[in-house]
Homo-oligomer: 360 residues x 2
């Protein structure tokens, strides 16, 4: 128990933000830790912390989302890779890496058998992690974002060789994987992103066939039409709003729209992200036999297939067929800013917080 301090820094939710959250939305506090572990408990040192756009949905009072809202003045919870530093659970020994939905704290004490996240989000050892690959990938390409890209593209989008796949938010944690998986499936891949450096990365490093900066390209309808001369067969949507309107106009007969994220709307209103309006496009779905399906990666039918998907993703990452890029910020106290930066497009690839300076 020598490594477990008497208290830990934690980041809590100070209030339910209206519109865009700010640094004032979060508090940094010091929480006491138990002097001794109870039977079944483990003590963890947080190493890699994931900030994800979906967390915004949990910062709504009384939100009827797929996960309950965060409690005020309690730590924010997200995917965290941690190192076991003390253990009274035979399944975890000191030095093991494990992942779960965990509180934003430097040090965490939980009982894995009662940890409330529940399967598939209970504390899982990363003992099958590929050698030479940073454990940070467990919250990225080899974790929730990877699974999101894998199932959302392959199961809902069902891309066929030669088809055109459009990805919005293409330089983000999920979008950058979606585009690369679609390329592996033999598709023409086009993406939109929010700055020129990201666009260059998509085209020059990730092998996107085309990409554009939605902020500067001008007329979005023309931009999508020009980049997709054969129309769009699969649209993987991370963003919603204007870019989705433009892509929908170019959707081909029997096209598939996989709705993964709506980051353009998450901060529109403090309590109701559907308060924004846009063109009614159901007429297009109808006349072109188009399917639009939203999804959460935690679908039970998919959870059973996580091992298969993670093995496939690990193979692609290990072989270099999928390139991973991270935007890393350091220290637990940087987590709020890292989260806020998701909404101004600061991140390229996965935004991750390196909580422990010696994280591997």
């Amino acid at each position: 128990m020598s490594q477990l301090p008497a208290s830990t820094k934690a980041i809590t939710l100070a209030h339910y933000p209206k519109g865009l959250p700010t640094l004032d939305t979060f508090h940094t506090v010091e929480l006491p830790l138990p002097a001794e572990l109870q039977p079944g408990e483990v003590a963890l040192r947080a190493e890699w912390l994931s900030v994800d756009p979906y967390l915004r949905g949990r910062m709504r009072e009384g939100a009827k989302s797929y996960v309950p809202p965060f409690e005020l003045n309690k730590p924010i919870v997200s995917g965290i890779v941690a190192r076991v530093i003390a253990s009274k659970d035979d399944n975890f020994k000191v030095g093991d890496r494990a992942i779960s939905l965990l509180p934003w704290q430097d040090y965490i004490v939980i009982n894995p058998s009662t940890h409330p996240a529940g399967p598939p989000f209970s504390l899982q050892k990363l003992d099958k992690f590929p050698p030479g690959v940073s454990f940070s990938n467990a919250v990225g390409a080899l974790g929730m974002p990877g699974l999101t890209a894998y199932f959302g593209l392959l199961d809902i989008g069902d891309p066929k060789e030669g088809e055109t796949v459009f990805v919005s938010g293409a330089a983000g944690a999920v979008g950058s994987l979606v585009g690369q998986i679609a390329k592996l499936k033999g598709c023409r891949v086009v993406g939109s992103a929010g700055d020129d450096e990201k666009v260059a990365w998509l085209k020059e490093e990730l092998g996107f066939d085309d990409a554009f900066n939605y902020k500067t390209v001008g007329d979005l309808n023309e931009a999508v039409a020009k980049a997709c001369p054969k129309g769009v067969d699969v649209y993987f949507d991370n963003v919603g709003g204007a870019i989705s309107d433009a892509v929908t106009l170019q959707i081909n007969p029997y096209g598939r729209i996989s709705v993964c994220g709506q980051i353009s709307a998450y901060n529109e209103d403090g309590s109701n992200p559907t308060a924004t309006t846009g063109p009614r496009h159901d007429w297009i779905l109808l006349t072109r036999n188009v399917k639009k399906e939203g999804f959460i990666v935690g679908r039970p039918a998919w959870a059973k297939r996580y091992p298969e998907a993670l093995a496939q993703l690990a193979g692609w990452v290990a072989s270099g067929q999928i390139k991973v890029r991270e935007t890393v910020v350091e220290g637990l106290e940087s987590a709020p800013k890292a989260f806020l930066n998701l909404f101004d497009g600061s991140n390229t690839g996965k935004m991750v917080v390196k909580v422990a300076a010696d994280a591997q």
Copy 2:
């Protein structure tokens, strides 16, 4: 050939309407008929003519719909049941009933082998029609509207016993069949319609569990929530617009939305039915794992299964498990008014024109 007159009345498209069409949108003209049939040709007496909301989509200049726009000053074309009155095609003999997409004329001469509608819309004999059932049903429950209800509900909606199915435009040609098929599948069925008489018909005659008049019920969100206390598992949408917004708010996790019609939008703009705006609800699709799929009944994958579907529908109609109601107007010259009445809700069940006074 004694029954074939020298000319026939025809209804043509006078102009591409902006907004709601009017009687001026149509012209009644007299067209010459050939003095003698060429080899392979048949002469037809129109008996039952179908007016359908989708025809509005063909009255747009340069419309990129799934069917090309009607040509100006040419007859409107829709589903018509006709009696063969002369034939130089061995597959059709005098007295046969046949159906196809045909011009709005009292008398029609075509060559079935080259008739441009193409399969599955080529001229088809109604020789397997159930005894005692009016041939008008070939443009209703045992025709395109029946197939639309069958595939749109069962294949896309995939309703399970005990689930709640909501149908908008529930008293229309398709909606009234959808609700009855859903009842046969053991669902709780709720519908919306535009007048109290229709609502009473749905509840008292067709066995809907609940229904309301969307024009007078007040707050639509509250009305849907009250009528669907367990939420909505399958939404069969004939209408679009405000009622669809309200139903979407009540959609259950893993719900299915089958987009069949958008009659609320068809006349919004002369060239672009997606010009109207509404709340962005993709966030709901995402967080609830909802699938929304639009469809046209002519999907090739379904066309192969038309015989199976029509046999099932014919059985339900013959046994009285599905009740059919028609709103019948008489005479070819009534067709424009019948079509216009689709948009003011005058019809209950299938709107059909009895072109020949002796039609059976």
